[in-house]
């Protein structure tokens, strides 16, 4: 069959994934040049503006809403060179990063999941041939670049390249903060190594990652000063996230941050439980899941962590789905979601229903001006949250029972 022979040939799959991105990139250039509606992500204009500020010797934070490490603007520095090609350099870099991440997934699946080429390519294609992934990187969103760092981190950890793992971890946290949750699972997982010097390994990892993280931050602070800390770190802690998004906390945060109408009787003092929203999120993603699962299976643990982090986060947009999508190829092959089609199909249908319900309510608010905050938008975000929690339950359960299953299979 042509279809199966396609997946037997790595060069075909990778060529197809490159072609997919090239087509999207070219289409984007065409749309940008011919339509007032831009294909390019708004964030890409933020990055390239920031790079332009850097090229003039200014701070990237001179650009409003630049909330990233200055390294990102430096990475895409060539976008300030004249010409349309160089302006697309960042998108090309992100797309190359995508394909590189897919290649690493392929290698990890072969080496650490003991898959043959065909099976490994099929599952790596969840990433490589995913139009959503290709779209996000060719539109110029930096989430695509994260895939290459985090997948490299996983690979380095699995290969027990401790200095490299530490460096990648420190770098990824500097870049996007949330990968700090992987520190717990990798360190806990390393404990499982049979070598005698496990204490040293963990300590070494901690030192390498901290040195990288602190070193990068000191360097950036030395060059860009307070705005660097303010925009790339503190902003994320003090932001209100009042605008509608998929997070279950969204309506509550709008309600709580909104000033109370004056002239009314003061209502009963609120418990301000929303201030504790980080607790279930961090307990699950950075403590409980690593403790309970890391030793069974590192990639699936990282998937569960990321899934928990995104599901319980105070803000959630569709780009965040990419964060956990990069771990699906390692988990799905033995998962209940694939083994039991009824559960798998039910899960995907519920997930889609949750999305569609939310998007419909969001559209009514954003474009038709209906006040759908309550109950519509709130209820659909809670529904979506519960569906995600259910899927997370399946992932956790699968990972937890994994050793048993693999043992059963080997006997």
């Amino acid at each position: 069959m042509a279809f199966s022979s396609f997946f037997r040939n790595p060069s075909l799959v990778f060529s197809a994934s490159i072609l997919l991105r090239a087509v999207f990139l070219l289409y984007g250039l065409w749309q940008d040049a011919n339509s007032p509606m831009k294909y390019t992500d708004i964030d890409y204009y933020v990055f390239t503006d920031a790079a332009r500020y850097i090229s003039r010797g200014q701070s990237p934070y001179a650009r409003d809403t630049y909330r990233y490490t200055p390294l990102l603007a430096w990475l895409i520095y060539p976008t300030v060179w004249p010409g349309g090609f160089w302006f697309s350099f960042g998108k090309i870099l992100f797309a190359v990063g995508d394909v590189a991440a897919g290649w690493m997934m392929f290698r990890i699946l072969k080496e650490y999941r003991k898959m043959g080429d065909e099976r490994a390519l099929k599952f790596a294609s969840i990433w490589l041939l995913n139009p959503m992934v290709a779209t996000i990187s060719t539109r110029g969103s930096s989430e695509g670049l994260l895939g290459v760092f985090v997948t490299a981190l996983l690979w380095a950890a699995l290969a027990k390249q401790i200095p490299l793992t530490g460096f990648l971890l420190g770098f990824a946290v500097h870049f996007k903060i949330y990968p700090f949750i992987y520190a717990a699972s990798i360190i806990w997982w390393l404990d499982d190594t049979r070598t005698g010097s496990k204490k040293h390994t963990r300590l070494a990892l901690a030192i390498y990652s901290l040195l990288t993280f602190i070193g990068l931050n000191i360097a950036m602070y030395a060059i860009y000063g307070w705005p660097f800390l303010e925009h790339s770190y503190f902003y994320h802690m003090i932001r209100i996230d009042h605008r509608h998004n998929f997070s279950p906390y969204n309506t509550l945060l709008y309600l709580k941050s909104s000033p109370k109408p004056t002239g009314l009787e003061p209502t009963a003092p609120s418990l301000e439980l929303e201030r504790l929203a980080f607790l279930p999120q961090l307990l699950l993603s950075a403590v409980f899941i690593p403790l309970a699962l890391a030793k069974k299976d590192l990639p699936s643990t990282m998937l569960a962590q990321t899934f928990a982090f995104v599901t319980f986060n105070k803000v959630c947009t569709s780009q965040y789905f990419l964060w956990y999508m990069m771990f699906l190829p390692y988990y799905l092959p033995d998962s209940t979601l694939l083994q039991s089609p009824s559960i798998g199909i039910t899960a995907i249908i519920f997930w889609i229903v949750g999305q569609v319900a939310w998007l419909q309510q969001g559209f009514q608010l954003e474009f038709n001006g209906y006040s759908t905050f309550v109950p519509g938008l709130w209820a659909s975000s809670i529904l979506f949250f519960l569906v995600n929690a259910g899927i997370l339950g399946v992932i956790i359960h699968d990972t937890k029972t994994k050793t048993k299953k693999t043992e059963n299979r080997s006997t």
Partner: protein
Amino acid sequence: MKQRITYVVQNPEEFSPEQLVVNNEGDFGPSFTLKGVHAAKEHRITLSLDELPKELSKVFQQWHELHIRWASPKPYTATPPFTSRVSPGLHVFFTPLDTTPENALCETLRSFVPGDLTNDERPKCSSTNDTSIKLPILSERFSMSASSQYYAYLESLNYFIGRFRESFCRKRMQCYENLRQFSSALYIDIDYDTISRTVVLTAGWPRATGAIEDGWDETITLPSEDATVEIGVLSHEPNSDPEDIQFGGFLTVLGQDERPKATRFQTPTRHYPLLQSSSTATLNPHPLTFTTSFNQPTGLHPTLTLTFPSQHLTPPNPSCKLHTHLTLPSALFIDAYQFSDALFLASKNLKSLRSLAGATDLEAPNWVVQQWGSAALFQLALPPLHHASSNTQGTWNSSIPLHLRYLPASAASHTSVPVPWPVVFWACRAEEGAKQSSNPFDRMHLGYEGLFGPKTRFMHVEPSGASGHIEGAKSDGLVEWIEVPVLDTRWSGWVEGGTVGMVVLAFLGLCWVLFGKTDGRREVEREKKKQ
């Protein structure tokens, strides 16, 4: 105290000098009477600081300069030379002194707006520095502009006039009478600066109050023996100099002149009337007008559309560029980055975003923004020539995409936000720019002249009174109201409990899956059902 009252006759052919009567021997002193004069009127009172009550004089002395501009949302047709406009509402342009207290602006506002300014329903005012916005100034060297701007939408000045009457008039009948008249004015300017140390109060009426056919029927008397009252009854006359306007008519200094004295003068003008170019002998207003509307539904990204009759949309002079100046309350904002793309601008029939000042944060909700809002200047694109000639009945739309901030949750599904109509004008080159201020009717500090070079004249496009033509749009003269969806607190009682409950439930359920005893697949299914 000096007073200057100017009537500019709307139709010179219907006017005759017999309609003016001077009587210097009346029981109440000298008087000047108009009988049924159809005219636009401007009343200017100039007071030195020591003529004001102490507390009022102190208010002015806090500032280096202070220029208050108020315009009514009621539509009107302007008569030259009173053609300049500001968006309806209360504008305050000022330059503080080093010693100006931080609450000076809000204290001043309190005399205009009743109630508590910290209340969210009211115009915003927390402190002079935080609430006002800095005016970008193009020509620093020549600029006479104030440094800061404040704006609040205010439908009428009745509250202010009432307060002013109480503290100022002190049983002087003339004062009561003047203020009663001022309450029917459609625009009022108050100007003060430290150099002249005078307060100038100017009120304008585009036509006589009362029935349309009546015209002005009034008698002006001297308020006190040492007061000067100068009354002009003028008409706009054709003039060959392209940058001058000319007036002829009668001037009367009350108590000095026995009869109205004939006069004729010409002057360069900053606000040049937009006239029909075909006829030089008669002066007809240009048929170009505009309307403002919002595309419905407005959603969270309202688009403001300016509509023009395309056949009249040709520059009055090759140097003229069409501009619009927007005054936006903080509930709305402009994303300047959108306007850097040529295709995007062209699709909206815009040329460029020339200037943007004030609250431009792209993420902040309205309750976090302390500034009153923002002001923007756009240059508009014109229809291509073939479009204008072939499409004689058509209209030309320029649209400006705006974005709404989140507004506080309230016990209703929507909150209404007023958006005053912008001003639209041709900005044209003026060789005699420096002489414009010699015009006795010159008007400055409108928020946009400082954005142009000194050699600029403005030809204003009249807003068309007939608005509200779009179904479903709430319109009230020269102001549009946007319904902003907000979180309805009548429904939100269970949001906190519901959210926290569901999160705790999911958290406990997941902990159970993590740490509970494993019993194969059934548990997963149970877990899923539970969710």
